[in-house]
């Protein structure tokens, strides 16, 4: 893929990305969602974000990597503890990255 086609693909990606974000806002304001859907929407952040986090900690090259010396699992655990205990964004990011660097430096 190159040149004009690639520009076209990027435009198409932009249109789809915008439509997904835009239409529910303008279509749903006129009527109320059923209570069970409103309740369901409250769990969207937790369920979705965990789906972006856990695979990166629990898998390696597409397979489960649950062994206790998996450096990304340990670094992720440290980051979860830091985020929960101190509620500090930079501390969490730096603590997680530093843990991974140390473990990789140790040859894990």
């Amino acid at each position: 893929m190159k040149g004009p086609l690639l520009w076209g693909v990027i435009l198409g990606l932009g249109l789809i990305a915008f439509a997904l974000r835009y239409y529910p806002i303008v279509l749903l304001e006129r009527f109320h969602l059923p209570p069970v859907l409103q309740q369901a929407l409250r769990y969207v952040p937790a369920a979705t974000l965990a789906g972006l986090v856990l695979p990166a900690l629990l898998t390696h090259e597409g397979h489960w990597a649950l062994h206790p010396l998996n450096p990304r699992l340990i670094a992720g655990g440290v980051a979860i503890f830091l985020a929960w205990r101190f509620k500090n964004v930079l501390l969490t990011l730096l603590g997680g990255m530093a843990t991974l660097w140390v473990l990789q430096g140790l040859g894990l």
Partner: protein, 234 residues
């Protein structure tokens, strides 16, 4: 943030959104760098990478689309992959319909364009305290900063390219960015269960094409959270 610093006007709410998102937006710099490098690997020019980040503005989906472009996948598959990875925005956008109901049509379009995990999570966490008059401005302030940082860091990644050593494991900053948002969203047992189920199902299905496991996992996690909450009421 102390209660005394609570915003009372839309510009103050916008400013508070800018300030509160700054540390989080520092965290997306490595994410943008990784995306810029992935764009180079997929054969895009620096201009195309920067334009893509400015227009599409969706980290995880861009990474998946770039992988497919680099692998020579057909155009429909690239578009479909973005659709599936970004389906969560249908849920975010649905949740934001009522909070944004009072915005002008133009601001609604802008708010939709600037929608990402970070400003959505920030706003949902403060909507009860700020209400529908101020919370959208907190969201817009945060979204403006996030967009600027995202475009600049993707551009920087495309310029630096392969000069970033692999040993830095910058790709690990991507899940860490999401982790920072996830932990405060775990406020009670149902949300904890929603995260556990959503995360584990997504992990189990990580081999599915177009990262559709992310969406299926989210549906399973949401169902689990709703189930536990309703069970507690009976």
């Amino acid at each position: 943030m102390k209660p005394s610093a609570a915003p009372t006007t839309p510009p103050q709410a916008f400013g508070r959104g800018v300030l509160q998102i700054l540390p989080i937006s520092l965290g997306i710099i490595p994410f943008g760098l990784v995306t810029g490098i992935a764009g180079l690997n997929a054969g895009l020019s620096v201009a195309q990478i920067t334009f893509m980040s400015a227009l599409v503005y969706a980290g995880a989906a861009q990474l998946v689309a770039l992988q497919l472009i680099g692998a020579g996948a057909g155009v429909p598959f690239v578009l479909l992959a973005l659709l599936v990875v970004n389906l969560r925005y249908l849920m975010y956008s649905s949740a934001l319909a009522r909070p944004f109901a009072a915005l002008s049509p133009r601001l609604k379009a802008l708010a939709a364009f600037l929608m990402v995990d970070q400003n959505f999570a920030l706003m949902m966490g403060q909507y009860e305290a700020l209400g529908p008059r101020l919370a959208p401005w907190l969201y817009l302030g945060a979204g403006t900063v996030l967009w600027g940082v995202w475009v600049a860091s993707s551009y920087a990644g495309a310029l630096l390219g392969a000069q970033v050593p692999e040993g830095w494991s910058l790709d690990f900053a991507v899940p860490l960015c999401f982790l920072v948002l996830m932990v405060p969203a775990l406020r009670n047992r149902p949300s904890l269960l929603a995260a556990l189920v959503g995360g584990l199902v997504a992990t189990a299905l990580v081999g599915l094409p177009y990262r559709s496991g992310l969406f299926l996992g989210a549906l399973a996690g949401i169902a689990a959270g709703v189930w536990l909450e309703n069970r507690g009421h009976r």
